[in-house]
Amino acid sequence: MGNKITVTFGSQHIAIPEPVSFVFETENEMITKVDVDVGYVHRGIEQAAVTKFKFNNVQFLLARVCGFCSITHAGAYIHGVEKLLGVETNKRIDYLRLIVTELDRMHSHLLANGHVAEVCGYENLFMQSVKYRENATEILEAITGNRVQYDYYQIGGVSRDLSAEHIEMIDVKLKELRVNVLKLRDFFDTDYTFGLKTKGVGTVTYEMAKAYNTAGSIARASGLRMDARNEFDFLPYEEVGYKLQTRTEGDVWARCMVRFDEVINSIDMCLYAVNNLPEGEIKVKSKGKPKGETFIRVEAPRGECFYYIKGNGTKIMERVRIRVPTYANIPVLRELFVGSQYSDAQAIVLSFDPCLSCTAR
């Protein structure tokens, strides 16, 4: 007893596809100390945004910060630039943007939950999640014309319109997805062995969530009523039936459940938006160069994404600061490890759905 062993988790680990390194100091199976290193894939995007790219090109660069949040990163920047240029978008543009943003959230959440199931030893549940997720990605592909890099947001509008054919297809596929997600949620909810691996594991209490300023589904799973969609009017969420989803348990299981509830809510919002699409142009003319500064909060799939944008009246931006959701969740993750079993470490990490390419951008 009392023998300390250092176990490294990463930088390459089979549970996470991205390079992050945790060095655990363990006593028997218990973790007593953690060191984190995240900077393996730093690409200097904040510098590139203020040196190499003109302001009307930066959204293409920022969409490549992360494959999953590419819509929200580009979206946050576009919202900011539109504010600086004084562009007022119409309702149709807002609705189209909302549909794409929510579809992005759906497929991200389904993959995150599938990953949790995978590291808990439930390989076939992971396959099932990814199979159902395909509906969301297919819709995105049909709308935007690409599977990963959507490049849908443009300054003053969106790149493509929805045809009647699209609307019909989205309606059918989303209804199918809704049925499937409810089925999946039922598996996650009622499965006995999955519950053993996830219930009561890695609990973030309400006080902890508040003290560490967590964001996204991690905060909401602990009962913290915190969602940028609720606190910042970047898209017309209230009109389409947005509901804040919270749980109180705060463990790995609750985080999965919050994600499922959000997917269901997103599907409902998308179905409403698609069937009540306002008329209008899909692009508004914009002119001038951005001058001044602005602060933008948007809700990325993993939590709140914050942008600070400053323009100086030239083609090149003065400063683009990105605060990604994982920043808010790393501190509590580090605290959470201490005192938990090493065998739970994978499930805890994956339930946080960390995005390392966002973190080291």
Partner: protein
Amino acid sequence: MINPELIMHEVTLENIKQTLLDWYDVDTHHYITVNAIDNGENLTFDWIFSEYEVKNVIHVFRAENIAYKSNIPSMMDVYPGAWVSEWDLADMFNLNMENAHRGMFLEPEAPTGPLLKESYSGK
């Protein structure tokens, strides 16, 4: 178009910690991030907060005219999750940040202070 309600608070490096200790309430305020802007001659620091379930309000604590080599206080005593953003800024701007472990975001052989204007404008 978004119209956030910005609430600006002017602070200095000396009084920022005390101001935040007095102002920050864990039940209502959500810490978002700390941001630095290079003005070419000096730095501007922003500590940015929002409020839970209050629409479009952003609190900004702004400290202006900070020299490049100033000692920046850490806010980890006020809210313990502050270190990620602080260490990030310390790496990116080559700052003397209190308690910061350098090299978490950048590798040792990476250029120092890549977001400083002098490092990319070729001065």
